[in-house]
């Protein structure tokens, strides 16, 4: 069975999805050192999904699960090894850079390294407009002013350099830059991970407001499940390059199906004293994307794995890829 069929859109979309990803695969070749063998690392392995306009897909998983690679392929920063990305029904590969920039924009994790330190804030925010080549200078100025005000920065702050702003203010600049072209889709890769919690809350609230006002579609990548639960309408859980569970956010957090999703949720430490630190039961084996286990790729760490999990490849059942969900019911 193809993954496109198993991971069909969750909501019945009557219109073209904002983002559609079909059988996406991306591999990297990694040199094995002096005498080592050249190895193939599968970062994204046969991922398919469709996200309706206005939806927020939260992508979660541990480091190395391929979530950032997925973001880069969807942004067009990395070509896929196989499969394709459609943005508002158009093939990403058929669009030139300018057209792509008008549709889809990124916000990255680190507001310290993603802003040019030698440019003024207003010039950083203006860059996507200037790069379009056909926007009159006055319009650029007006749009930048408007956008800075919208993200809560003053005109005076627009004259400053990134080093003169705090982390939260810099992330506001990154958001203003991403939205100045009025894109339809924004890809946020760990947008609040480098920020303090009080600042994180400000940025999350700002993103939520802007999403509603501008009817944006968001792909929201984060290792912080609580943040994803707060912002996402649906959630994709990635493990070693595959989406092992993808469901409507509220249902996934209420009743996770895949054992990996359960373990991830159990690992979240809520500020509730007396509960102690949970034993997640994942053991000490760590996932290695250059050496993906046969059968279910999660089986070496899975607390409920059975012998067949080492040989049989699971299919998706109700949004989760687990052999124990096939047939009998729950893992």
């Amino acid at each position: 069975m193809s993954a496109a069929a198993t991971l069909a859109p969750i909501s019945v979309a009557t219109t073209t999805p904002a983002i559609e990803v079909r059988n996406l695969r991306r591999t990297f070749h990694v040199g094995g050192g002096l005498l080592g063998q050249d190895r193939e690392v599968v970062a994204v392995d046969d991922v398919s999904f469709a996200l309706p306009t206005g939806g927020v897909l939260g992508v979660v998983g541990e480091s190395g699960c391929g979530k950032s690679t997925l973001a880069r392929v969807i942004l067009g920063l990395l070509p896929p090894t196989a499969g394709e990305v459609l943005v508002e029904g158009q093939r990403l590969s058929a669009l030139d850079r300018r057209a792509r920039a008008r549709l889809i924009q990124p916000v990255f994790q680190d507001p310290f390294s993603s802003l040019n330190p030698r440019r003024r804030i207003r010039d950083i925010v203006a860059m996507p407009l200037v790069a379009q080549g056909d926007v009159p200078a006055r319009q650029v100025r007006d749009r930048v002013q408007e956008m800075l005000a919208r993200v809560g920065l003053s005109a005076e702050q627009g004259e400053r350099f990134p080093a003169q702003l705090s982390g939260g203010q810099r992330q506001r600049v990154a958001i203003a830059r991403a939205l100045v072209l009025r894109p339809r889709i924004v890809i946020c890769d760990e947008p609040t991970s480098a920020l303090d919690v009080s600042v994180q809350a400000q940025i999350l609230n700002l993103l939520a407001e802007l999403r509603r006002e501008l009817d944006l579609t968001l792909l929201f990548i984060s290792h912080n499940l609580a943040v994803v639960e707060h912002v996402a309408s649906e959630v994709a859980v990635m493990y070693l390059g595959r989406v092992v569970e993808r469901r409507e956010a509220e249902a996934l957090f209420r009743e996770p199906r895949h054992p990996y999703t359960k373990a991830l949720l159990a690992s979240v430490l809520t500020p509730e004293p007396g509960l102690g630190v949970p034993d997640v039961g994942l053991g000490d084996t760590l996932p290695d994307p250059a050496n993906i286990p046969p059968g279910c790729r999660f089986h070496p760490r899975c607390p409920v794995a059975e012998p067949r999990c080492a040989t049989e490849t699971p299919k998706s059942v109700d949004g989760a890829e687990c052999l124990l969900l096939e047939g009998s019911g729950r893992p």
Binding site: L225, P271, L286
Partner: protein, 327 residues
């Protein structure tokens, strides 16, 4: 728990014309985990570095009392202080990649700690290192001793750091954001390990973190820091049962809690930014961001005593939160 191992009273640290820590007092008892929690720049790391006398150049510390196991630390010559560090008091930091030397094997780095403080043969030190690697849950410890830091994952490196800190049987472990760079799954494993080691070895742990979830789950006592001060402190259960400083309350409102968040409802947030504290600064450092601020907040702020040893620094009386909720 009254067996105080580390006692800090009215610690003050300045860098140039900036006050990083002011009037900070806390203590850590044997077998106890005390968390210093706060956001960047609140002085939590500087406080711990001041205890170890490892402040960056230009940092000046003063304290009414700074004592480890009854010994007055500022009175010790640096040579004696260096003997204590890594031996009876050990540290682990946030990023194990930067605190491990990339050019030496795990084994030689771990053995050096031991032979330097305790002497003895390298062979004996390596045996001890292998034993500790096994204790912190690392499989095939013998093989790991011969590996270099870059050959290990982040979680394994942090375990190595913990094992290395345990080489000389420390009585106090200072851990500065030990799990912040790790995945949540690995974070849970490392924190369980720390709690287990504490039970087995009777360690006193001073844990520095920004994560209220970590604090709630492993701390016995908490000190919440803001703008260089401890604004609220107490036993973990008491403090979380009735967080009373407006900053602590604001911070808790900012944290999205799984199962309790509402989509499309804004999170609580604290407006404004942390002020820079200069010498001579008077009053509450939070007053410019506080919804409850009053003119008196610019003067001497009283220390309020709640139930148990729960204290907070505010003009508002104990129990104000309950009264506000009732109103």
């Amino acid at each position: 728990m009254s067996d105080t191992l580390l006692e800090v009273r009215n610690l003050h640290v300045e860098f140039g014309d900036t006050v990083a820590v002011r009037d900070v007092s806390f203590s850590v008892a044997r077998g106890e985990t005390h968390c210093l929690v706060g956001e960047s720049g609140c002085g939590k790391s500087v406080s711990s570095l001041a205890v170890m006398n490892l402040l960056a150049r230009g940092g000046r510390r003063s304290a009414e009392r700074l004592a480890f196991d009854g010994q007055d630390l500022p009175a010790l010559p640096e040579r004696r202080m260096a003997q204590l560090r890594g031996d009876r008091m050990a540290m682990i930091f946030q990023e194990p990649m930067t605190s491990l030397n990339p050019a030496y094997t795990i084994g030689s780095q771990m053995a050096e700690v031991y032979t330097r403080h305790r002497g003895g043969s390298r062979r004996a030190a390596l045996d001890r290192a292998a034993g500790l690697l096994a204790k912190v849950g690392i499989t095939a410890p013998g093989m790991r001793l011969g590996q270099f830091p870059h050959q290990l994952s982040g979680g394994l490196r942090q375990r190595v750091m913990i094992a290395m800190a345990l080489m000389c049987d420390p009585e106090l472990l200072i851990a500065d954001e030990p799990t912040t760079a790790l995945d949540v799954t690995v974070q849970a494993q490392i924190l369980r390990l720390l709690a287990e080691l504490q039970r087995d070895l009777g360690l006193a742990i001073l844990l520095i973190t920004h994560d209220l979830g970590v604090v709630a789950r492993i701390a016995h006592r908490v000190s919440v820091m803001y703008a260089g001060q401890v604004v609220e402190s107490g036993p973990t259960a008491a403090l979380f049962a009735d967080p009373s400083h407006p900053y602590t309350r604001g911070l808790l409102d900012c944290v999205p809690v799984p199962g309790k968040v509402r989509r499309d409802e804004p999170l609580g947030s604290i407006p404004g930014m942390v002020p820079r504290i200069r010498p001579g600064f008077q009053g509450c450092g939070f007053r410019d961001r506080c919804a409850h601020a009053a003119p008196v907040c610019a003067g001497e702020v009283p220390r309020q005593h709640g139930a148990g040893a729960h204290e907070f620094l505010c003009r508002l009386p104990p129990g104000w939160t309950a009264r506000e909720q009732a109103a």
